[in-house]
Symmetry: C2
Subunit: 722 residues, 2 copies
Amino acid sequence: MNGREISNPLDLKQIQVTDAFWHREQELVRTQVLPYQWDALNDRVEGAAPSYCMRNFKVAGRMMREKRDKGAAYVAPSYTFRGFEALPEDPANPDEDKFYGFVFQDTDFSKWIEAVGYSLLQHPDPELEKTADEAIDIVCAAQLENGYLDTYYIINGMDRAFTNLRDHHELYCLGHLVEGAVAYYQATGKDKLLRAAERFADYCCQVFGPEPGQCKGYPGHEIAEMALVRLFEEDNQERYLNLAKFFLDRRGTEPFYFEQEEQERAAHDGQPYKKTTNNAYHQAHLPVREQSEAVGHAVRAMYLYSGMADVARLCGDEAMEAACDRLWDNVTREKMYVTGGVGATHMGEAFSFNYDLPNDTAYSETCAAIGLVFWARRMLQLKPRGKYGDVMELALYNTVLAGMALDGKSFFYVNPLDVAPEACHKDGRKGHVKTVRQKWFGCACCPPNIARLVSSVAAYAYTESADTLWFHLYMGSVLTKEVWAGDDSSREKKTLDIKVESQLPWEGKVKVLLRGDRTPCKLAFRVPGWSGGMKVSYRCCGRAGEAAVTGEGLAMGTDFADQTDRAGEQTALSQAAVSYRDGYLYIDGVWQDGDEVDLEMEMPVRILEADPRVREDMGKVAIARGPIVYCLEERDNGKDLHLCRVDLQTLRPSDIRTETTKELGHPMTVLQVPGKRLLPEESGELYRQARPAREEDVTLRMVPYYAWNNRGEGEMSVWVRR
Amino acid sequence: MNGREISNPLDLKQIQVTDAFWHREQELVRTQVLPYQWDALNDRVEGAAPSYCMRNFKVAGRMMREKRDKGAAYVAPSYTFRGFEALPEDPANPDEDKFYGFVFQDTDFSKWIEAVGYSLLQHPDPELEKTADEAIDIVCAAQLENGYLDTYYIINGMDRAFTNLRDHHELYCLGHLVEGAVAYYQATGKDKLLRAAERFADYCCQVFGPEPGQCKGYPGHEIAEMALVRLFEEDNQERYLNLAKFFLDRRGTEPFYFEQEEQERAAHDGQPYKKTTNNAYHQAHLPVREQSEAVGHAVRAMYLYSGMADVARLCGDEAMEAACDRLWDNVTREKMYVTGGVGATHMGEAFSFNYDLPNDTAYSETCAAIGLVFWARRMLQLKPRGKYGDVMELALYNTVLAGMALDGKSFFYVNPLDVAPEACHKDGRKGHVKTVRQKWFGCACCPPNIARLVSSVAAYAYTESADTLWFHLYMGSVLTKEVWAGDDSSREKKTLDIKVESQLPWEGKVKVLLRGDRTPCKLAFRVPGWSGGMKVSYRCCGRAGEAAVTGEGLAMGTDFADQTDRAGEQTALSQAAVSYRDGYLYIDGVWQDGDEVDLEMEMPVRILEADPRVREDMGKVAIARGPIVYCLEERDNGKDLHLCRVDLQTLRPSDIRTETTKELGHPMTVLQVPGKRLLPEESGELYRQARPAREEDVTLRMVPYYAWNNRGEGEMSVWVRR
């Protein structure tokens, strides 16, 4: 085996998610989020600020028609800056020729169509597809002849297009359009939007590049990098990969493009130049291959690193890969919440400095956790390592899902780890922390981002190479893996049909049922970092075997007495070779109908502490079980959660009882933790002689973090005093 | 004894401060702060932003001369709004006819002249007095014929004077002018500035008042209330007291004045009215007699409550007194740091909600602590209670003094209780927290406020009534108390000369040496809340006695066996009656030369905890001894102070050793506290299985909070994990 084990997500057409947990989430997206979102982007949501998204496409479409109709007589609009968010003076009567909304408002459509695409794969819906096709017609009608497609400039005046890459998000719009178009094409086979996206991308390939006369800029808000890679992977046109690589190569090189651009804008406007650019905010302070610390806007950073991992994989760019490795270590060892959230400060929605992870003023944007999932999957594609799967799973099951209410009708943008509602209401320093989920946002990034991730979650659960299928997440699903059997002289395409039954995230049991025609395939199962170990028993070509991964390494045979770390050792009992490497258990076998793999992961309650450099978590513990991180809520434990603690000198993880409840709608495991609660003593003094704490024994009830705040406003805390 | 025991500060001419601790502070003010401040307000400080203060007075003075010279031909400027802070376009060439600086920049002079007055009393200085007289000439030359004196409007156009009481600080300027003028008059007997201040006050008495046609407004930034009371107390003109009372009576009544005013401004400017007024920020949300919670800008609140206490005292206004009582309890039981700082949030430099006292993002402005000292003294004047003295002393010895470096050359505006410099530099949320003291501030309130308080500190140490002298603070001093002896038929003025020798704040021993001619006087000694108790031995008319105050009450006699709480009991041994009431030990005696009172207060190290509703201090203790609160500094204890803790299960206050050091310039007591320090363990994991803490025994060195940050930048923490 060489050092490279590059893999790709499976074609989503080859997977159906049947998992109880994830099917429910996907149904929420399908039945709640997508219809709501469609109404929102058509300004039909009572009480919500209009999006103006589809309206802008229609305005631009009318302009395009007028242009064609008038021919040479058509007078194009001359650019007027309308602000980062343009709102009508009289909201009841928006001017019919004007652009409204945020500069990136077009992406509302792109994110919606992407989620629609994924959803149609899981759940065909002709009516939804018809709505989508009509929307695509409206969008495509707005496109310029040269392929440009961003209604902000089309409507406001193209003469200043691409003169503010730092703030005006045109390349961000390109990226989302490409993502949406590819997804919709892959789902439906309809290529109208894909062709439009390619034309916009082609236009950008002309405008941007290393040749003289081409613009040397790059996106202010990254996403185009990974989107262009995706387009390349769809249609194999190298120019898209090259443009992605060009954006990465230029980023952060001197002279800094955003500063040059700002100078040019000042000169154009006849204004004195005053530097307002913060390159680090855009991850443009250093060439990307030299970056080692995650800085600036967290979502942008995650999208950038995702694109970097893509290019490292496709181009075998070792310096890029090394930068990804350094950044990964920095994020996951110094800048990530225990819930998988990233971006600790609301100031710039950004990464704070190492180990600065405040719980009550956390930003931890839902979209940043989603970005971390994107990046983790791409790191897994580059090299399968359990640590990437662990973080992907952590972010997904905790911060991403916490972003959406259990009824799919309201959303968190910010995901704090400690909430006292009074503080959020009365203290401006916590003004960004909402105490209840919101219906929708003017800047609607998080809800549609959840929608596109949840409806494509299978693309994160599995990746494949020619001969290997990796199980990164465990979810009930039915899927097909194609493999080429035989040697070079006679190769034959075979399929392995797989049915996965999973009890995750509540129990660690997974059954993998296989149907094949003596199909050779390596199955790679992630051994989660949260499990004490994993036992596997399997039947391969009818012969049974078993193995286990423990803290000691791999053990094989019936009684696991033969402790060994040797990779690829053939067991006596089966036709499969079992090995363990980098957090994955590999079973290299030849499979036939009736074969089966049973996994059993230990799922102990874990009492976690943070690195002591995290000042905020000093003297506290967090409690987790499997991939789920738990929290205290006022509803279960009364007010003043900070009075609660667990006594680590006496508490053993085994003292913590699990309880399955349907109280919050779907069955979930909650924890009963023996704890203590400080008894209030009114002394009338703010400061007094310290005395031994008078405490009562209590049972603390902890619910999954993703399920918090579904029973009204109240206090919440992930970290508990020890 | 009736319920009222109203008192007044002594005439500062009757006191000389000889105390080692306070004399040093006063000398810093005299030799460092006052000369620097004079240079600052004349724009002569290299590298500092110009104040423009004296320059503005000169500009206005030239305008007044021109007006007199031209007579009817003079054209007054028509008002132009110049911003809350007006700066010249070209700093090298300010326009010679314009006002520059903050709208309240005139107060730079007023605060300086006030401190100069106090300083001249302690240390005559003909040259400084000559400078001051010349400055007064410049200021008085700027005054309008009608008495108005605020250069912002005089220069920018009087047509809009008094149209923005909320923000434009004219009445704040009046207040500081009065305070400065009275102080300078009391010190020197020169009344030029006092007459100018009276003329401005007289003009305000015409403009503001209950009569039809008079303005019904009140100050946006309070201080005029207490200043007008002071003016009344100096010259006995009732109209000044009435104006103070009028401002208080109107404040917070509906319709809200600041909103009306804002509407009128909008109408005048032809702009649509948009409410921006936050009445609570100005303590104008409720009639003052109905207020119970300290809200809004903390300095303004302290100044308001000071004025309320003054008016309650002078007018016997019980509803006002009750409001002061409620606000006092709220501030000191729910909103005060253990250092005596108030105003927990930088957003609006304001009070946060009850028990919200963050240590690392604290605002705790120096001026707010000074305002708390002002208010506490006024509460003591209204009724002597030990709790007011305790808080006054706490704020003074800790937060106020922390505001100034030990060399008097740099200043803190914000007084955090927990500092990690990296966080302040890298985290915008802590951008207001400076890690080293600053030379001076554009908005120069704190340094001159320290100067005026420190140089008049004797006015806080003592108050008197006709027959009683209260010792609120203990400081070495020489003073004279005048009393009337005899009955109504034959009254005779006698003096009691008093010399106080004090070892505060380091030891609790105080000696009071008396010289009298059978002078009857009650001496009232505060028994500090921080002391376990106080012993007193005294010689009165040559006969000795002794008593003690303990937690049980008052004990008298040689062996203190006769435990009693009876007030006014005559002892067998002396001619003095000793009683204890509300935190004060009273010795009612007739004194003659050679009499003496010796106080001995216990000064144990105190280990304090906060009310558990203070979330930030949960699981932590603060350490204090006498009036001094201690802190850990990186210089003594290494980086990562949060790794340190004390073990309350084993630590006894008596284990904490005191050490006297001159390391920081003057002799001070520092503490050696047996503690523990978490040993760093590199696991490479941000979150890991919680394990028992591996700690080493260490001796934590704690220095007085007021002395922190005099040895370079570094971490600091008042609260220590327990």
